[in-house]
């Protein structure tokens, strides 16, 4: 797989790709990113509305290691809180944040547009329609079982397929982007109509659209993992290819890339992961735009560093944001979309003011 992904690059392309820089050592950045994500994981396990001591949590974790002879002193309910409610929620936050950021970075590279997010080609609208139809017409099944995430996933992927069918063009990406806007508008119209016809389910639909991790369990993690895994591996293998794509279609073609085919592959992989993330967590905004930009600012604009670091920083950022979402108004919850946008929007404004010219 690695060979195949690297193959399209000629020596000239490989040499050219090096013009995009990585500030300092990649390994140092990745190490920092891993530390950030780990810090988010640990904070997420320790902090929550139920006061449970760190010592007891560590002891409970260690009691699972054989031959240490340690016993957990957590009560049944505290143990359930830490291992069945908190941990899967943090892990899902890491996965969703990583996936949205990585997909966002890829979309920005493929479309050579810094303002693009993973919802560009209609994933969000399609998933929203799928979820709304499910909630409106089969509420009993929607909230008890896998049909809601499945409907959202199918809707998200279906929307992007339609966008591609309409917007396929040999002349760059503008037609595709316009097709995405069109499909988004159309599907959102249907979604709003269905929602208006079923006002009794309005709150549930609204809640889903805002996005949240509050009902996350291990089951959701297992649902997302295969899609996020495949998607992230494919995207990471194409990090150098994305560097070459920043030159523009003509130059990249001259350097030996099959631009059209690579674009389809990258968009498909990013869409698969995004649709999976949206299916289990709803529409969480801003992450897919701001995280890749943050990474470009601090670590350099080469996709060799943008992709891996977006995964780590994006995952850590969403996990940390979720800690805020459940502690700011504790024991009440804030919708995570509100928290990401509240912190994300000012940050993005600062990026716009200070870093003009930092492109994908």
């Amino acid at each position: 797989m690695a060979k195949a992904a690297e193959l399209p690059l000629t020596d000239a392309a490989r040499a050219d790709a090096r013009r995009l820089r990585v500030h300092g050592s990649s390994w140092l950045w990745v190490g920092g990113g891993v530390a950030f994500a780990l810090a988010a994981l640990l904070t997420g396990i320790v902090v929550g509305p139920a006061p449970i001591g760190i010592g007891a949590i560590v002891e409970s974790a260690a009691s699972n290691i054989p031959f240490l002879g340690l016993h957990s002193h957590l009560s049944a309910s505290d143990s359930a809180i830490v291992w069945q409610l908190r941990l899967p929620r943090v892990v899902l936050g890491l996965l969703v944040g990583a996936m949205l950021s990585c997909a966002g970075a890829t979309y920005q590279g493929v479309f050579r547009n810094p303002l693009v997010d993973p919802y560009l080609l209609g994933v969000a609208a399609g998933a929203g329609l799928g979820a709304t139809l499910m909630i409106a017409y089969a509420p009993g099944q929607a909230f008890n079982g896998d049909l809601l995430p499945l409907a959202a996933f199918a809707g998200g992927c279906g929307a992007v397929v339609i966008t591609y069918a309409i917007g396929r063009s040999s002349r760059g990406t503008a037609t595709l982007v316009l097709a995405g806007v069109t499909v988004t508008a159309f599907l959102t119209a249907i979604q709003t109509f269905v929602q208006q016809q079923h006002t009794d389910t309005l709150q549930a639909v609204y809640s889903w659209i805002l996005g949240s991790l509050d009902t996350a369990g291990w089951h959701d993690v297992l649902l997302l993992l295969p899609y996020a895994g495949v998607s992230a591996v494919v995207l990471l293998l194409h990090r150098r290819v994305l560097d070459v794509m920043t030159l523009g279609d003509e130059e990249a073609t001259a350097l030996g890339l099959n631009v059209g085919r690579i674009r389809v592959l990258l968009v498909a992989a990013a869409t698969l992961g995004t649709a999976g993330a949206v299916a289990v967590s709803g529409l969480i905004g801003f992450l897919g735009i701001i995280v890749p930009h943050f990474v470009r600012l601090v670590a350099g604009s080469s996709y060799r560093i943008v992709l891996p670091l977006s995964i780590l920083v994006g995952g850590g950022f969403l996990a940390f944001t979720d800690v805020l979402a459940r502690t700011i108004l504790s024991p009440a919850e804030l919708p995570i979309g509100v928290v990401t946008a509240f912190f994300g929007a000012p940050f993005f404004a600062v990026v716009l003011r200070t870093a003009r010219g930092v492109g994908p």
């Binding site: 139920a50 809180i81 909230f143 009794d200 389910t201 549930a204 809640s207 369990g217 504790s330 919850e333």
Partner: protein, 283 residues
């Protein structure tokens, strides 16, 4: 601010209604009433004004004999309403100047907004009675409701218990600033949602599964059965919820969403469901 606005509108609507009723000529009660509020529909039929009602909105599903139409109280259309030639339109909310537009079309409007207390709910029933010529029945209805609720509450021995009320599967929960919260207070129950900041002013807050499990409430009230298919079985199957006291003892009250989200005569059913579930905890 929103509350102020709503109450201003209410005052205005009451004013319009009252001035019409107190006209000195022979009192003529409305006989072409449209109700765009499911609660008002229930109230009107409970006080014997059902015969004067010619159309109700698409959410008014109780009583079954109510003349349900495709009219929407949520996104109401002035023309569609006026086409029925109503002489009174009862609404629970007035989006984008809907009440004003009806008034311009010379249609009487009565705004009865979401009631936060029993007092408000009873006042709306009495107001409907007065406006429709069924004040006696409305007074009797309120007295009957008060008596039945008092009886149900008295029949349950007082114990210091906690309660979690679920409005949606993502743990939105009714607070003390709602009629549901008021019912819990009648039974002397401690509502776990009231610990949330803002619970004093907002009728509902979103809790987390972690908080609910850690509080281990003695009673769970499910008001999201119809919207979202929640049941005793689905609640018990949630990860970690098997450690909750109410789940262990089976003290889960299952209530039709439409009863829990309205402020009409069937509030008595809500009180009854809570009382039955509480008797389970006594065993």
């Amino acid at each position: 601010m929103k509350h102020l606005f709503v109450s201003l509108l209410a005052a205005l609507a009451v004013g319009i209604a009252a001035s019409a009723v107190s006209a000195p000529a022979a009192v003529k009660y409305p006989h072409r009433i449209i109700s765009l509020s499911p609660t008002a529909t229930e109230d009107l039929f409970a006080i014997g004004a059902g015969k004067q009602v010619i159309a109700v909105d698409n959410q008014s599903d109780y009583p079954k004999s109510a003349p349900k139409t495709s009219l929407s109280g949520f996104t109401p259309n002035v023309e569609a309403v006026v086409a029925y030639h109503p002489d009174l339109v009862v609404i629970s909310y007035s989006p984008k100047g809907f009440a004003g537009a009806l008034a311009k079309a010379h249609v009487r409007v009565l705004l009865q907004p979401f009631a936060v207390t029993f007092k408000d709910a009873y006042a709306q029933m009495l107001q409907l009675g007065k406006v429709t010529g069924h004040l006696k029945e409305a007074t009797a209805l309120v007295a009957r409701m008060k008596a039945r609720i008092a009886k149900l509450v008295a029949a349950v021995p007082r114990k210091a218990l906690t309660v979690y009320d679920e409005l949606s599967p993502d743990y939105y929960s009714a607070t003390g600033a709602s009629i549901i919260g008021e019912i819990f207070k009648l039974f002397g129950l401690e509502n776990i949602a009231d610990a949330a900041p803002g619970a004093g002013s907002s009728g509902a807050v979103q809790l987390s599964a972690e908080y609910i499990v850690s509080e281990s409430p003695d009673l769970i009230v499910l008001a999201d059965t119809r919207c979202c298919g929640t049941s005793r079985a689905t609640v018990s199957a949630r990860p970690g919820w098997n450690t909750i006291s109410a789940v262990k003892k089976g003290a889960i009250a299952v209530i039709d969403d439409s009863i829990a989200s309205r402020w009409g005569p069937r509030l008595v059913n809500f009180v009854n469901a809570v009382a039955s579930a509480l008797r389970t905890t006594q065993k």
